[in-house]
Subunit: 249 residues, 2 copies
DNA sequence: CGGCACGTTGAAGTGACTCAATTCGCGTGG
DNA sequence: CCACGCGAATTGAGTCACTTCAACGTGCCG
């Protein structure tokens, strides 16, 4: 590879392309098309919404750096987090064909995102079916993750529930090239973890202590440390099939 | 309209078209393309799987008549139901781009389904972006329903949870033209309702009695009867936005 | 008539919740 | 430099809703 200087635009598109190709291989023509996409960069402060429940969505975002989460606001004003999105995720394709947001998306920590307008994306998809299929597939994998969340929050006791969630975050981080051998970022407070998994903060705290004392994992300073992957996976009955990660060949 | 006799094939396609157009308007060319789709009809007995976890999906199905459900099989062998699909639903587009099923789909009652092979669908979508978008949108609305299930199963007490689920089924049935003024089909036993909502059968039974005694709803003989929609909606904090049903104009 | 699936009921145990207080780390301002 | 406030994590205690276990009724079908 020549070390030619590249415009920032190229770098953003490089990252985006790599992400999309984690889901489906693209042709050169697809890549060229994707590279023509205009975008805007935004920096989000913690707690800042990207889009809010009730609004009409007109953009999709790519996370350069940081972490976003999707959430419902429930009757008493509390939040129910629905999914966590880390760097290199494209969380918001979900809303591409929806006229009104049924949930909000906010930043959990300071995040740098790339914003694409729907009206810029749609013509590309019309012309390039393969690109269309790739983005579609991203939303289908998201849906598989939603399904797993239903099962996790409905059928597993707190400790296994947290363990399962941590397994998912670790595997997804690794797939995105964001994890070390045995650790990855973990941008949730215990309170938020409770709002994600449908348990009280007290239960989260005690379950985490249980997992710590069993030497399965540790969470501190915004990092998740895996101590015993094998046992963790067993406790959580974690099976990464639902993440539909392409096999290395 | 002339009352000309029509082939069965036309009737199946008529229904399918109507369903797709509930999600997005189609052009005449799209309709023609969709009508060219070859299919097979299958009758499923209760409990019979259409596709099973671990298999490679190669078909999508349209429900002519009956009810299917998506489920995970969890560690102890129990089922966690993920979503319920009624007549006129196209539940299985979810798997169109997935190489392996992360869940199973079974019939809850005897059902008549139409089966389309993926290899027959994909060429159409390549040629007709608009049709592609329509099917994509179906999967996005499914995803919105999954999200709501996360919140429902994680953040609402049993009675409200059941109420919310019933509200959804009623509104979806009505949108599909399957409901009367105040009732619709309800193809779940109490046991299955528990497996759907993540509560024990005893709790389901007592919560249903509570809803009955408050004259909000009644469930019997596979039918759901709405007694007091207004109060039911309030108890469930039900807001149908997430179903993304097109507004009548 | 017997078997079976589904619904219903009672009773007991417990795990998760709420309430409440304490600790810790950190940044701010007196 | 220390007092203070704040968010987050931690701990203890009491309550109660949901679970499990178990029994029984009911309707349907072979």
């Amino acid at each position: 590879m020549a070390n030619a200087p590249r415009k920032q635009s190229d770098i953003v598109h490089d990252h985006l392309l790599k992400t999309v190709e984690r889901y489906m291989p693209l042709t050169l023509a697809d890549e060229t098309a994707l590279r023509s996409l205009k975008y805007q960069i935004r920096v989000l402060e913690p707690q800042e919404d990207v889009v809010s429940q009730g609004e009409r969505p007109d953009v999709s975002v790519y996370i350069m750096n940081g972490a976003l989460a999707r959430y419902h606001t429930v009757a008493n004003g509390d939040r129910q987090f629905l999914s966590l999105h880390i760097s290199k995720d494209l969380p918001d394709v979900q809303a591409l064909f929806l006229k009104i947001m049924d949930h909000s998306v906010c930043a959990l920590i300071q995040s740098e995102i790339v914003v694409f307008r729907h009206e810029a994306i749609l013509p590309l998809l019309t012309k390039r079916p393969n690109l269309c299929f790739a983005l579609w597939r991203i939303t289908l994998v998201d849906a598989a993750i939603f399904r797993q969340a239903i099962t996790n929050n409905s059928a597993r006791p707190p400790e296994a529930r947290i363990a399962h969630f941590c397994c998912e975050i670790f595997v997804r981080s690794r797939d995105a090239g964001l994890a070390s051998e045995d650790s990855c970022g973990f941008p949730l407070t215990q309170t938020q973890l409770g709002q994600m998994l449908g348990v009280s903060i007290v239960t989260v705290n005690r379950a985490l202590q249980g997992l710590r004392s069993k030497r399965l994992l540790d969470v501190r300073d915004g990092q998740l440390f895996i101590k015993n992957w094998r046992s963790l996976v067993r406790l959580a009955s974690f099976d990464d099939t639902y993440l539909h990660i392409a096999q290395e060949s």
